[in-house]
Assembly symmetry: D4
Homo-oligomer: 251 residues x 8
């Protein structure tokens, strides 16, 4: 994120510059209207991270068009989520893009070498939660976070969780990813003293109702300090965890 | 339960007597038709425990009528569930009945002094699950079981559960009673090697949906060996636990 | 299950050895961390049966890896549920595995020749419940139980049920499997005096809602002694029935 | 119903008179507009039974107004359903009305002495279904039907049902009223060869969801010949049963 | 249906023969146990129509086996519903069977030439309800009923319904089949004085929820005399309509 | 609404004045911050009608405070919806307010004498929909509309609707208010050529689910030109109808 | 629409001609019964726009048949919605039809050159709502409306919306199309003073439940003047918007 | 919180002391078993804040008992949520407790004078969300946070939100509390670059379904960085916000 913009925003926060004045300064082409999409070029200004391309339901042509617009406007780090292998191949013909198939994520630019000092722990209940976990992990790494993966430690064998407690408790923020009954979020939430972001997954059958059972379980957690995102929303959890993990980090 | 009837049924099971012949022998007044109710006097024959009076939605007069019919037909141990204090007082004017208000249960006859050697452990997630737990415990005791109460050991503070593990693991069958996210059933199910009967309770608010969140959690338990009964159905869990706990007990 | 471990656990139950001491003794490699899975090698210690591989959502490579880990750690009897024919073929190239396609189950090692003296009765409402019933039956047999299959005796023709009553009533525990309105569980529950485990199936259309109608029917059974597992969860019912059926069996 | 109107309608059915002509003839004040209600004075013409007053949500004044309009237009037999005791008292000050509190029904005029030769059997699962059953029974009797009440014969004790089979099988149409899991409808539907109208009741708790469990059970009945009405709709079942029971009766 | 059996049943109804005696007489092989199915050979005795084969979820081999059993036991008129074209071809290699693809119905034996004098009207809201309507119509014709088809007369253009009123009002019983909002059932129910059986269909999108919107609409019909069957259950409606339509017909 | 503000807005619409300039001009105290509420004094500018006070969940003190703020800022016509009689009395001690109890509406200022030339027809299915209908009617009248009330013309007696067709068809926009199955919206929608706004009401029982059945029915209407508002939202329907009815009216 | 018919209807509205007389005049072949469909040839008379062919669930043959009937009866402008590419090709062999694949719409005849003076604004939250938006836009254009497309201006970047405010505020009626949380409808509804028709789309995953989240959001909009249509019902929104947009237009 | 315990935990985090050793040190009476509750005296050790007493469903006696236990074990700052006025009075007879009725919160000990430097912004959509907001605000203040209240700025008048942007954007974490359609969470989430915790409230009627509409809206937020807690769970949001707000604060 360009420092000049940050400075401007700092002045807004300090009251040195009014919001209106700042908005004026920022008004040089904040949106690129492609017809099929209005690329939000100022999101990096407003929110500290560039706009992410949600790949689901977009054609390869559309995604390439959005990437072109972003690159033409100086954005070098681009993340595309929910990207199918076919469309990934299409994009790679035009742009140098890394595709992480297990996470359904493509990205342009490099994952930062210098990571945060503090880490995000990503914990899953079972092997089947892998895809959602990797969507979360790769997103967090793309945003410069140190990530601690602790997979397949669901409550059916709670000693697996207890044996990994030290790795988990050293994190600044924890993402718990679980399907079926999603009990892992409550157990972890009861053991740690950092924010827990719970991601219900659609893993399960019958009355799991595509993740609803896990979602309700997490929303009703008897442990405090647990908040929840949409079913299978690994990206959303990573986004929130990234914001928390960067608090207090020297820039 | 009269031994002659038991003998008859044993012969049926052994193939010495056909079901039809047995049914014939049992046909002396199996039902007492009170108009408002058909009292099932042979349930003790068919199912080993006398018919239970479900008190909800019955008037005091109706319950007294049913008790009269049962006593007139030689049944001395009578259990009435979901009994309101008002109606309990009404019944107590006619019959000597013990009323356990915390469990909403009344019973006529004594809780057996001689208990089973093995025990049923009844575990709750929180203090608010007390009523359901007592409905379960009193029913189990009425049927002659040794009961181990382990209350308020929910997963938000899992060390409370772990500190009680020895009491829990010595039971022959376990009833887990929890509201909110109901995660306790999975955690217990993953730790023990005896049948676990899970009772979701309506404790909670918002998306607990009157116990549905806990119910779904329990139905989707990642731990094997967990079966589920209706929300707040402490009686049903006790009934099942009683059957299991009596297996292999000498009579 | 090795007798030494059982002895240790017996001492724990008797209070001769504390839980902590026992856990210490058991700590030789309780988990094998494969990265994609943490194989729980001590489940046989904790729960009396070895960990089962839930095949759904795992690749052939992953399942083979888990089998390798289990075999390397001395586990000879291995059960894989929800296994697709394709992956079964893949596994069979590496290991000698029996595949029961109708039950979507594969197993390594032999089904025990010596069965329990008492039996588990598995009853279905219709022909369409066959797959779930076989998942239940094969699992039960793999765990050494005598199984009595009574299929297609739904309440639309209740004489079919009544004609099989003697076979049903000789069981120590009964599994009732039914889709559509699931009424069979209540009718059976009202006739017998042993535990009934009800399995709703996704058989039906329209308002069966993929098994929800049968599930609700079973949870609200007016007969006592009926507990319920997740929709189509034949394995779970077998697991519970196996625990009950083994009570009082000489080892 | 006046014979002249019936003749007219017969002619319409036979094609002797066109619908338009007939409608013209019937147009003398078919509706009485009271402002708060449009009293349908021709329903007896169209549907063979006079309009019924649905008492719920109407004030005493409104119901008295509607009765006045009906009486002024020559209607002598008037049925009011879902009537509260308070409003019943209010009405009885103005009109001679019989109030059947257990059925929440009031009626003006007499229940016909001469009944149909064939009967409607009304069967309930339990004592708690009594109110809905009486709403059904009184309505059916008000419309001149012979009614056979068979209460409290739910499937938890199926011999209670079997012992009443002869009474049930002699009916021309059967109404089955049950809450909880509503299995009675399927069992009866599988035993008889006459139309079965199923009424789910809101009796139950937890996952009975106010009658939804019984409703789904009845809609998914594996027995053919079962149709369903709204939860607790005893009146609707009686209305349908009355139409069927009158087929073939000499007038 | 053989007259001797009918006579026997008539005697049961008249009280000349007890149910037990009659059952005894009927006990020659009431069920043929094929392993995968228990063919109910006495359903014609109990319910006046032979057992129907529900084709969904059965293999061609299984259906052929059931047909063989039925034919071997003297049943000549056989109906198979929910039959896929592939399996129909398979069956036709073994037996002479008429396959009505639009209705997903196959039948062996002839549709009776002599029909009932009274008719069943089958009314649909739109063209898309055709398949369900034909399942209903063919079933009704197979059972010997005169059928009046009145298709595509939904309430969006109510004059289409009104123009067909005479055809509709001449029926003894009416089946209303509609998806989307299912309003047609209420409108017809308010116009006629014969029983109306409503069939919600899964036609629609979005909040039609696969027929639930139409189902709820029909269950809450403000018109009396409307009962409901499961979504898309054209067969069930025909079965009920057939029973009603045959009342009072000379045999 | 002050003409100067309207002129300003007209200039904005014509492009003579930019939105920014206009907003600047309007910035004199657009909000009055009462602590418990931020009174939106410019809504009349933005939306043509003054802010409405939603009375539910507000104390008498709060409502009086908001009224004071509005009056102090020159707003003379004030509407308060969902107002309980108790709080109405409280307010009337401070301000001259008309309270229409049947509609749960209070208003300050007069209902305009001069009405629109075109009218809004408000149609209900039954008498029980009265309160919602009056909330709609009084709101519409308060906004200066001519209102045509056509109550209790539900589809169970469709001739009641047909007899009022001329009154209905003369309206410029129609509000259809119905509970139970809500079929009236579709029938009206199929007969007229003006916008129909459908209001589901919570009238009904059982599967009406507090208005959900009617809501789904209306959302799935097979008639085009029907849009829907929240259950019981008479105010919202009036608000929309008012906007449509004023199009083309000379000011 | 032929002027003579309009005149007739005007006379009906003015009371110069009664509804009955008018209906008589219009009775020359109002319906063409094709067996599989009853083509409503008078809908243009009743509702101002010709009947639209809902393509989903109809065969190519059926659609061609309906088109033939419409053309034979003088209808030149024909719209077919939810049309698949395959069937479109089939129809184009018989008739000159324009197919707009992105909107799944086919039409015969030309989109009117002369548009309304006022416009309909169609606003979407994201790129994925494109199909529903185009169904809406093409329908509106086919009915002669000027359409303003404002796509991809969801609330995640609200400045995109604010920058398009002038285009939006110049419309006479606005259609807001959004999936996910559907918040755009409330934000737009709070900013404008014209009718807003909200279309929830099935865009989203997990708890979007195929559009239900957006639907509920829109039904509960805290902004007044928002009405809602079925999920993905772009056509229905266009139909309503067309009616509103034509009010006050000179013909 | 005692510094020695903190030091111990720091050593655990740094790996200087193992978890096991630390747990050993902490084992002096971690739980006080009151029979009806197991007071968790070490939660301050595990989670940095003392155990909170959830008042709902507990008697005054029970709460007083728990307070006594906590005070006897040296805990001076005690928070009781969901406390009814009656029970508050009861407690105040025994202990000096501040009761904030609007927040249904009681607390013993003082709200810290020294607050965090950074603040938590608490934003509500409307006046009716006040109680939930105050539960959140008082909890946050009790934990030592600076709180910025921004109430009644819902999206129906988005300028109210925009005018408060500077106050909102200066916070380190934001809690958005809204009922009805809950759109405020998405709009705020799209404007800021700090974590947003969304609290759906049960404010609304009809299809708000007691907060479900707002919950779904928030879970499906198109803005990133929004996580969600249970309906009306102001405490839970404050708990999470407190953890985030304290990151990087010097102690």
């Amino acid at each position: 994120m360009s420092e000049s913009i940050r400075n401007l925003l700092e002045q807004v926060k300090n009251g040195q510059v009014s919001v209106d004045t700042a908005l004026l300064k920022l008004k040089t082409k904040p949106i690129d209207d492609l017809g099929y999409a209005q690329v939000d070029l100022h999101r990096v200004v407003r929110q500290g991270v560039p706009e992410v391309i949600y790949g689901a339901g977009k054609t390869g042509e559309q995604i390439v068009g959005i990437i072109s617009s972003m690159k033409a406007n100086g954005q070098c780090q681009i993340l595309i989520t929910r990207l199918s292998p076919d469309i990934a191949v299409y994009i790679q013909k035009k742009y140098e893009m890394t595709f992480v198939e297990s996470a359904h994520i493509g990205y342009i630019g490099d994952i930062p070498i210098q990571k945060t000092k503090s880490s995000i722990a990503i914990i899953t209940g079972g092997t089947s939660d892998y895809k959602v976990a990797e969507e979360c992990a790769v997103t967090a790494e793309f945003y410069g976070n140190k990530v601690e993966r602790v997979y397949d430690v669901g409550v059916a064998g709670i000693h697996r969780l207890l044996q990994n407690l030290e790795r988990i408790m050293s994190a600044k923020v924890i993402v718990v990813i679980a399907g079926m009954e999603g009990a892992l979020a409550s157990v972890v939430g009861g053991l740690v003293d950092v924010p827990v972001i719970a991601v219900p997954t659609s893993v399960g059958y019958g009355t799991s109702f595509g993740g609803v059972a896990a979602l309700l379980s997490m929303l009703n957690s008897c442990a405090s300090g647990v908040t929840v995102v949409n079913i299978d929303n690994g990206f959303g959890a990573a986004y929130m965890a990234n914001m928390i993990n960067h608090i207090g980090e020297s820039k």
